[in-house]
Each structure stands twice: as C-alpha cells, then as structure tokens.
Amino acid sequence: MSTLHTRDLIINVPGRADGFPLNLSVEPGQTWGVLGPNGAGKTTLLHTLAGLLPARTGRVVLNDAPLIELKRRDIARKLGLVFQERQDSFPATVMETALIGRHPWLSPWESEQADDQTRAQQALAALDVDHLSDRLLSTLSGGERQRVAIATLMTQNPDIWLLDEPTNHLDLHHQVKVMSLLRDQSDAGKAVFMCLHDLNLAARWCSHVLLLYPNGDACWGPADSMLKPSALEQLYNQKLVTVEADGAPVFVPVSAG
C-alpha cells in the first residue's frame, strides 16, 4: 500500500499567481474528489501528482521518496493515471490496449504471459467491455473507450489511482458502476484521487474532497465537511439548492434570478 503526499506544492498553471500551497496526504482507503470550475487546474494537478509536469514550487512525495528522484518504471508500479484525452494514431484492439497496463511489470525481453492476459480479461469484464476485446479501439463509442481506459489502469494495478474525469461519456448506469468500482478499490486498500465535474458523484462516493479555485486558492478535507453549499456556490459562482436523496446531499443548480 502506498501513500502520496504533497509538500507545499504549487502547481504550474501558466499565467496564474502562486495561490495556496497544497499539503495533501492521499492515503490507502481514501477516495478523493477534486472539484473546481473549468481552468482551475484540476488536470494540471493530476499530471503534477503523477510526475508528468514539473511543480512550480514544493514537491510530490511517494512513500517518503520525492517523485522526481524515482524512475518512471518504479513510479508506474505504484501510481497510475487515466487521462482525460487519449491519442490513438495506430489501430489497436481493446485487449492490446488493456495489456499495455502490464508494461511496468515486465522486463524488456519478457512478453505478456497467461497471467497478464487473465488480469486484463478480468479488468475488461469488471468494466463490461470484455465482449469487445477483439474490437479496434477506434470503432468504439466514447463511453466504451473510457471504460477501456479504466480497465487498462485496473490491469496496471497500481496502489494509487489517479483519474481525470473517469465518468466522462458514461451513461448513468456505468457512472454508478465505475464510481462503486473505484470505491471498492479504495476499500480494498488503494488510494483513489480523481477530478470530477459532477458534485453529486463526489458527494455520494468520495471520502475526501479538494476544492480548487480558479485564482489558485484551495481547501480540502473529509467530504462531509467540505461539501457545504456556501463553499460550493462560491466555487462555481452558481446558486445551488440542496436536497437529500439516498443518504447523500444532492446539489441542484438553480438560475440566479
């Protein structure tokens, strides 16, 4: 099990003042939701946490070791990321795509074994895309591709799961399915850290929440203490009405008038 810390981290959003330094501690068993309006730096934060972008100041620490001192391969065994946008310049099947999740675990001359195939198969089944395993990625719908991307992360099987808008393109049923799968993973000892657009998904499934403001301000903590209507209205500059359903608060945007 692994823990991801940030020490006085200021992410590098071009053209923005430094803002509030982040001292997060993402631990096994936690499900984090990052909320904020467009351009608040959610994706930049995620990429910085994965070591793909340099921080402006401060640092990211994975199990007591600063991320920048670790090899990419060692990071990838502990920490994985589902991107919001994906490139596929060359045709690839769903199974091949899921199998690249095994890359950090295989030595240069090693090829994927039956065990790797099984892992990929199980991950695809968990996301209801196993029936597509021989299809080309380019022939799938947006939601199916999103689920393949999450299945790839599941095949990679890192301790820390970073996800950029994991419910993008998903229908309602699969939104719930993916969120409960992520929650199951954190219950089993993974640490999950994801950007979300949907307040209500965060309220329903996240144990911790980070609010990112466009000016670089931030606050974070347990979900129930962070998801206050006043804070959220300020975050999105949008009037909200709160109701309760299925034991969780539901925030409904209303027009200001």
Binding site: K71, R72, R86, S89, F90, P91, P108
Partner: protein
C-alpha cells in the same frame, strides 16, 4: 507471432534466390547450388559471387534499413505517413552526394558527404518542427515537405551547373540505384546492429505509440527513448542513402502493409519490416535490371511508382 516472421524469412530467402538466378544469363537452381558448394563454371562463379550476390545483398540491406527507419519514425511521430524520403532526409543526402560528385571527389568522400547531408537534414527538419513545443505530426510533415522542396531546388541548381558528362551518374544516384552500391557489408552490419538495439525496446515503442504522456505514466522514460529512436532512424536512413542513393517510399509502404496484416506490435513489426523491406527492394531491383534488359531502370522509379499511390491512399483514408 514467431510464425509470421518465419514465413517472412522464407519469402525473403526465396526472393534472394530468385534475384541470384535471374538476369542477363539465367542460372538454373542446380547450378546455383553447385556454386554455393564451391563448384560450377568460372563464368557462373564470377556472375554470382562478384556481381549478383553483392548487389542483391545491398538491395536487401538497403530495403531493410529504409523500412525499419520508416517504422521507427512513424512511432516517434505517431503518424503512419512519416518516411525518410517524405521528410526530406534523402534530399539532404542527395545534396551532400551531388556536391561531392560535382567537385570530383572519390567514392569514399561521396558516401561520407551523403551521410553528412542526411544527418544535417534530420537535424534541420526535426529541429525546426520541434520549435518550443513537441513534435506535432502535421507540423513535422509540413516542415519535411518544405525542406524537401528546398533540397529539390538546390539539386536542380547543381544539375544546371554540372558539365553534361557528369550528369548520368548523378541522375541515377538521385533516382536511387543499387548498382551504385560497392559493398553490402556496412549496410548489413548497421541493419543487424539496429535490430539488436531496438528489439529489447520494442514494447516501450508500443507504449510510446499511445502518446508520450501515456507512455510516461506507464513507466517509459520518454525523452531517452525518443532520442534513441531519433538517432537510430537517422543512422539507418543515412546508411541506406549512402549505399544506394535516394530510394523513396520503402519506409512508407512496407510498415503500412505489415500493420494491415500483423497489427501494430513493434516486437513483430520491426523485424518484419527488415525482412519485408529487404524482400521488396530485392524484387524491385530484379525487376529494374530485367524489365528493359539490357538497359537498367533505377530501382527508385519502381518503388516510387508503388509508393505514391500508397501514400495518397493512406492520406485519403486518414481523414
């Protein structure tokens, strides 16, 4: 997957035997076998061992070099249209070689000058296209095409001021011609070296084909890998151009055809490109020296006639 490589290997061998047997004098398989065993007539021995074998091996190595260089550039740029010829690298080499020919240098200097020209073109194209950001596919292709046009102008200028008795050699070199190759060995050695270097990295290339960010997230050290591919592809191209002049489109057609049949696993595609590229050029060269015998065509004409429709088809399909 090993089976497809074995099949390709068998096809390559058949193509090599065919190329040795066919020509101004056809040699029957039994006589071919006799020469291999160290017997056979003196004429056949000279014909095979001194003329056809070096030429055929040079064609094979050049085709393999170009196809592997193309496959590598396509992964590096995540664009199936990338190719040493399209990106203007062959043009740079041609300018280098023609400059040496024009000033009356010997064969060794011509080779060195072509090599330097290819490297210069590579640095120029990739450097200009890189700019401050990353290598975007369209920007690189555009840079390559424009730089290639620039080389074309320089070549025309040089041809215009060249005394006419030097022209035929230059023209043949420009169109790509395996008979120009004096020895196949440097090309073969570079090809084997490159395959040995790149095969352990092939799975990394598969991941890199998904984009640099995704590759980094899956544990690939992207920068060192990109530089390795870049240097290797330059070396392969420069060696190929130095061996047989500027032969176009092999790096484009071969990896594309193979991907259609074998998928895009670089562990297969790279060695398969070496075999299939070699086979293609051996067959094209056999055609080039027999189709209007006793006259010979430059082999680049044949690969271009195959390559241009392939390129246009790819471009058409990609939108």
């Amino acid at each position: 997957m090993t089976r497809s490589l074995l099949v390709l290997g068998a096809i390559s061998l058949a193509a090599l035997i065919l190329a040795l047997a066919i020509g101004s004098v056809n040699i029957a398989p039994s006589e071919l076998w006799a020469v291999i065993q160290g017997e056979g007539s003196a004429l056949h021995r000279t014909l095979l061992l001194d003329l056809r074998l070096p030429r055929t091996l040079a064609a094979f190595a050049t085709g393999g070099l170009l196809a592997v260089a193309g496959a590598l550039m396509q992964v590096l740029l995540r664009n199936p249209l990338a190719d040493p010829y399209v990106l203007g690298l062959s043009g740079g080499a041609a300018v280098g070689a023609l400059l040496a020919m024009l000033t009356g240098m010997g064969a060794f200097v011509i080779s060195g000058s072509a090599f330097a020209g290819a490297m210069l073109a590579m640095v120029l194209v990739f450097g200009l296209a890189h700019g401050t950001g990353s290598w975007t596919a369209s920007r690189l292709l555009l840079t390559g095409v424009v730089v290639a046009a620039g080389w074309g102008a320089v070549i025309t200028l040089m041809l215009a001021v060249t005394p006419s008795y030097k022209l035929p050699g230059m023209l043949y070199w420009l169109m790509g011609d395996v008979s120009y190759a004096r020895t196949p060995w440097p090309a073969l050695v570079v090809l084997i070296f490159a395959i040995a270097v790149i095969l352990p990295l092939a799975r990394n290339l598969n991941v890199l084909a998904r984009g640099p960010m995704q590759a980094a997230a899956l544990g690939v050290s992207v920068r060192p890998l990109e530089w390795t591919i870049y240097v290797l592809a330059s070396l392969l191209t420069a060696t190929a151009v130095t061996t047989a002049g500027s032969i176009g489109f092999v790096g484009l057609i071969v990896p594309h055809m193979l991907r259609l049949v074998l998928g895009n696993d670089q562990r297969i595609i790279l060695p398969a490109s070496a075999l299939a590229g070699g086979t293609l050029l051996v067959l094209a060269d056999t055609l080039a020296r027999t189709v209007i015998a006793p006259e010979q065509l430059p082999v680049g004409v044949i690969t271009a006639l195959l390559g241009v429709p392939t390129f246009l088809y790819l471009l058409h399909r990609s939108r």
